[in-house]
Structure formats: C-alpha cells, structure tokens
C-alpha cells in the first residue's frame, strides 16, 4: 500500500526533505504543498553561503552533524557535472574582525581555514584580525528548481495552496512534514519563531571573485559573489517583519560594503531584497502526533533554521526522512480507526 506523505513548504528545507524522503523511504507518494515556490521563497533571496549562523541555542553537536552532512552533500554536487545547474559554487574569502575572535566550530569543515596575516590585513584598514577560508555556496535561485526537477522526476506531486492547520491534511495524508519556516507562528502556533530581518542589494560586479564578511560594532557587512550577481548585505533585525527595503538600511549597507571594496561604488544595482530568517531558540526537528481519532496525524517538524537553512538543509532533510520512516512504522502498528 502506498503511504502518502505531504511536505508543507517549498523552500530549501521543504524541497530537500521531499527529495530525501523519496530516496530513503520506500513505498511513499510525496506531495509538496506550499503557498510560495521558487523564486518567491526566503531561500531564493539568500546568498546561500555555507556557514552556521543565527542558530541561538541549537546544540552544537547537532549543528555540526547537520552542517557537515550538508557540506559533504554540497561538495559531492560541486565535483559532479551538475554543479552549475544545482547552483553550487566554491568561494574563498575574508572574515574580518576588529578584535581577535575564537576560531569558529566550522573551521575544520571548510577548506584551508587560516588566520589573516599582517600582509592580508593591509588591504583592510581598520581591521586587526580575521580569517581566510574556502567555502561552498549554494544559490537558492538555482538549487530549488534543480531539487524540484529531481522531485518531479521521481514521481513527486506539487500543489499550490495555503495550509491553515495541519489537521486539515489528516484525511489525505499519512504523514505531514512541516517545513513552514517563518510561517510556524500562524500554522502551528509556535511563537518562538521570530523573524531576523535581512536586507540585501544584488548588484552587477563580475570582477568580485571572493567573499568579504566584516563583523564589528553589531554590524555585519558582507559581499558574496553568486553566479550572476553579487549580494551586498546586511542586517539582522530581530522581530522585524517588514518586507520592504528600508532606506537607512540601504545606505548603511552600501557604505559598509563600499568601504571594504572601493570598486563597488561604481557598480550597477540590480535590485534590493528583504528576507525574514526563520529564527527559533533551537531548530525544531522532531516527530509529533497531532489530533485525535480519525483526524490524527503523524507530523515531522523541520523548521526554525534561522540564518542557516542552506547550511543545515541536507543533514536535517536526512533526519526528517528517518523520522518519517519511524512515523510510518508506528502507524502500521496503530492503524487509524
């Protein structure tokens, strides 16, 4: 008997969960149900830089596990013929600080992590320390369509629509995977999910081949070159739901980035964008039995990835697939009445 799984949400977490479930769970028909699809998801606007970020109290051991699994997955994609289609880029660059900082946990995951030398720092007046490392970047704009193609090829179904409550899906699905991101407050009443507002420019500057990430005085100015444009950012405003670019933020970002890389002053702006990182005290990745009797439903929650959706997505998707398998075996023991 074919078991029906519904994945709610079509951002990077939703689509990767859907693909992992198809690959790892036998005998299922997967449907992705979402209000928004690429290019209108949060993942589409993000630069997609692999680096654990804005994860609050998520246990370090989980961040490491999910992050490293995602890193290995992206590395495999990068070395394969699909790197360009999947939007995976190898990117080196500079992390700049005004005070020495402890080496990050991910230092041993990325390639060639090292401290900046005096010679390096001469390029960046005002900064006294930092790191140089080679990361992977996965562009949502290319990755999501690539995942979707994979998903559909494996028989996945897609439905556009807004879900107001998970239990309304109980009649049609055996397991629901909840990847609703920032919508968690509305959908499941989880008000611990709060936006961390990020504003960026996308500019045309093809001569920029490396990233810059400067953190100081509560600011985080960054420059990430992607396939076809360069992301200039950013902001991290907790609790701010405003999706329109704010002129004061635009100005601060522009100045902050142009100070780092003077040649940016003359570049052409393509557009501005605002995304709401779905921040939570901890990533929620767990099973829950919801509803009773005929409207009972096994749910696997997979949301609240903050600024690390792309960074953790594959590790989380693998775990979600395992939890779906668990939920399905449980259901076999307790069939619905």
């Amino acid at each position: 008997m074919v078991r029906r799984v519904c994945v709610v949400g079509a951002g990077v977490v939703g689509l990767s969960s859907a693909v992992c479930i198809q690959e790892k769970v036998p005998g299922v028909q997967v449907t992705v149900l979402s209000e928004k699809f690429s290019p209108h998801t949060t993942s589409d606007g993000a630069a997609g830089f692999w680096e654990p970020h804005i994860l609050n109290d998520t246990p370090q051991e989980l961040i490491r596990r999910w992050g490293d699994e995602t890193w290995d997955h992206l590395k495999t994609l990068y070395l394969s013929p699909v790197a360009c289609d999947a939007g995976v880029i190898l990117l080196s660059g500079y992390h700049l600080h005004k005070q020495p900082q402890q080496d990050p946990d991910w230092a041993s995951t990325v390639f060639g992590f090292r401290h900046l030398t005096k010679q390096d720092l001469q390029q960046f007046p005002g900064f006294s320390s930092g790191w140089f490392s080679t990361h992977l970047l996965c562009e949502g704009r290319k990755y999501l369509p690539w995942l979707m193609t994979k998903f559909k090829k494996a028989g996945g179904k897609v439905q556009q629509g807004k879900v107001t409550s998970l239990t309304e899906l109980a009649d049609h699905y055996d397991v629901v995977v909840n990847c609703c991101g920032i919508g968690a407050g509305e959908l499941v009443g989880d008000n611990t999910v709060q936006p961390v507002r990020g504003q960026v420019y996308r500019v045309h500057a093809p001569w920029i081949k490396c990233f810059f990430d400067a953190e100081y005085d509560g600011h985080d100015f960054y420059i990430f070159p992607c396939s076809n444009n360069v992301v200039l950012g950013g902001t991290a405003q907790k609790g701010n739901w405003n999706l329109s670019p704010h002129p004061a933020d635009s100005k601060a970002i522009w100045e902050g980035c142009c100070q780092l890389v003077p040649s940016l002053r003359k570049c052409k702006v393509d557009h501005e964008w605002v995304g709401l990182r779905p921040s939570r005290p901890k990533v929620r990745l767990e099973r829950e039995s919801v509803g009773k009797g005929s409207s009972s439903l096994e749910v696997v929650h997979n949301y609240g990835h903050g600024g690390a959706g792309i960074t953790l997505h594959w590790g989380c998707a693998q775990q979600a697939a395992r939890l779906v398998r668990e939920a399905l075996s449980l259901q076999q023991l307790k069939p619905k009445l």
Binding site: P81, A83, F111, G112, P206, W207, C210, P262
Partner: protein, 342 residues
C-alpha cells in the same frame, strides 16, 4: 629635446613608453607598432599574475615585486575593474611534491593544499593555494593608451622590418617587439609558444586552476582561469609552432582537460576562441645595445609572463633609457657638437 621611439604596442611597449615619459617628461616619445590593442598578444591572454614556477633570477624577482606592488596600488582604487584589474584566488596542482616557488611571498596568502583540498583534483596529489592579481589587457591597454595620449605620446601604426629603420630618426630606441625579435633581430633564442584559449560563460567558477605536468613545458597542461566576464580554458604551450590558426584537435584537448577538472563545465557556452603566440625566450632580454650608433634598450622575450613582469621591466627599461639620454647629453656638451636632430 630627446626623441624616443618605443617599438611595439603591447603591454610591454605601452608600459615602457609610460615609464619613460614619467621619468623623462620632456622627452618626445612615439610608439610605433604593427599592431595595437585589441590585436596584441596580451589582449588574448588570460592575464593572471604568475611567473615561471622556479628558476627566477634575483633581478627578475625585483621586477616581479615592482609589478605586483604597482598593480596592488592600482587595485585599491575605485576604477580598478575598469582597467581590467581584479583579485582572484586559486590552485596550482602537481602530481608530486615540488619546491615552493621563489615568488611565494609576493603573492598573497601562499600555502600548500591540505589533504582534503587535494581530493578535489583527481590525478593530482600536491599543490598550492594563493591569492593573486589579474590584469586583462583588453581593458588595461586602452587605459594605458589614454594616459599616454594625455601626456603627449604619439602613436604610429607601421610594420618595421629592422630597427635600423628607426635609428636615424630617434635618439633612443626602446625595443618591445616581442616575437618579432626573431625576424627583426635574428634572435634565434626567441620562439613562439603557441597557445589556444576557449573563452566560456561560466560565472559560477570563481578560482583559477592551473595543473602542471612537469614532464612537459609550463602551461602545457590544462588550466581554467576566470576573467571578469568569461572563463578562459587553455593548456597548450607548443614551443616552435608558428601556426596562428585554430586547430580543432587542440580545442578538444582543452575541453577534455577542463571537463576532467571541473565536470560541470561541460556544455558551457563558448564566447570566443583565440590563438596566441607567446614570445618565449630562455631569459627576458632587458639590456642596452647599440644599432647604427643609436642606443637601443631591448625589452622582449617575456614568454607567457608579459603581464606578470611588465611594470618592473618597464621601470628598468626607462632607467636604461634615461641613462642613455644622459650619455648622449654628456657627450654632446663635452664635444660641443650640435647635431641636426637636437
């Protein structure tokens, strides 16, 4: 007023002209060349700042440092990208452990590859990572030309068969003729190092990758070098081959080599194809000579490293030219002979 002619309009010629004019502002300088941008050898080159791997003399090391310093200063400006100048990191990979290059402290952040990194390059077991500067002559040469014109330097498009053609009209000749030195001066040490480059649209590649097969000549192994708007795929250095035409079997070699290193390059859109002849010589010839009683400063034979050496060599050439001009002036005042060309 001294009349100086610079023979050759490539990156060596134009930078030499600029250095001479900056050093001797009152000199009357003319650049004479058969080809100007966008038809010089440098225009087609990828433009990576990277010298020969080893075997660098102390003097060459100085020229290299001067060039890198000069480009670093230009890089800090707002217009750097408009003159084709940008920064890029990348990989040099080998199939065995090799000594460090003598220029490792000139480039930025030079280090060996970690074991994890080497695994990205199947078939190679050792390598370097560093950050360097890139200079695209297609943008740089027009900018040099503009600066030269602003300083009153004249340009003449003309093919010269022999230096003696210009010796009678000028006080000092700076000879930046590149590969033409073979015919013009009968310098048998100058040979063409034939290369083909396929330029593709692959803006997602952000590092250079140079593979090395030490049994063959340098640059005779696949390389991938992103430019501002296109990625250059190459990997041939056929020394002694004068053919400027396009060869399909060489193109296939280039594609096979590139795809082996980065499989996702398969199917990339081709934007341009180019064949160039590097002016290869065992050593750069940068010295003073005399032809028909006229001092000639030779500055040619930079092989695949024209961009890499250009400014340091231009400064040296200008210094030699200034000395030659001083010698002429000294001789003139001591013998009090007024020649018609003063």
């Amino acid at each position: 007023m001294m009349k100086v002619v610079v023979v050759g309009g490539g990156v060596i010629g134009l930078s030499s002209a600029l250095c001479v004019k900056e050093r001797c502002p009152r000199a009357d300088v003319t650049v004479v060349a058969a080809e100007f941008t966008p038809n010089t050898t440098g225009d087609g080159a990828a433009g990576i700042w990277q010298p020969q791997l080893w075997n660098v003399t102390q003097q060459e090391l100085k020229w290299l440092q001067w060039t890198f310093d000069h480009l670093s200063r230009l890089y800090q400006t707002e217009f750097s990208h408009r003159i084709g100048l940008f920064c890029q990191s990348g990989y040099n990979v080998f199939d065995k452990e090799v000594p460090d290059p003598p220029w490792k402290d000139i480039v930025l952040g030079f280090r060996h590859l970690t074991e994890d990194e080497v695994k990205k390059f199947p078939g190679y077991s050792y390598g370097w990572f560093n950050t360097t500067l890139m200079l695209e002559c297609r943008s740089y040469l027009p900018w040099l030309t503009q600066r030269l014109k602003e300083k009153g330097v004249k340009f003449e498009q003309r093919k010269i068969a022999s230096l003696s053609e210009v010796c009678s009209d000028y006080d000092v000749v700076i000879n930046c003729c590149g590969l033409s030195a073979r015919k013009m001066l009968n310098d048998q040490e100058v040979k063409p190092g034939r290369g083909q480059i396929v330029r593709v649209h692959a803006p997602w590649v952000k590092h250079f990758l140079l593979t090395h097969n030490l049994d063959t000549a340098t640059y005779n192994s696949p390389y991938i070098i992103p430019g501002i708007n296109a990625v250059a795929l190459g990997g041939l250095n056929q020394v002694g081959d004068w053919d400027e035409g396009w060869r399909e079997e060489d193109e296939k070699k280039i594609w096979d080599g590139a795809i082996q290193m980065i499989p996702a390059l398969k199917g990339a859109q081709v934007l341009a194809k180019w064949t160039g002849l590097r002016p290869v010589r065992e050593r750069i010839r940068l010295e003073r000579d005399t032809v028909k009683d006229t001092p000639v400063i030779h500055n040619y034979g930079h092989g695949g490293y024209g961009v890499t050496y250009h400014w340091g060599c231009a400064l040296q050439a200008a210094s030699l030219a200034a000395k030659a001009m001083d010698d002429i002036a000294a001789k003139a005042s001591s013998t009090r002979v007024h020649k018609s060309r003063y």
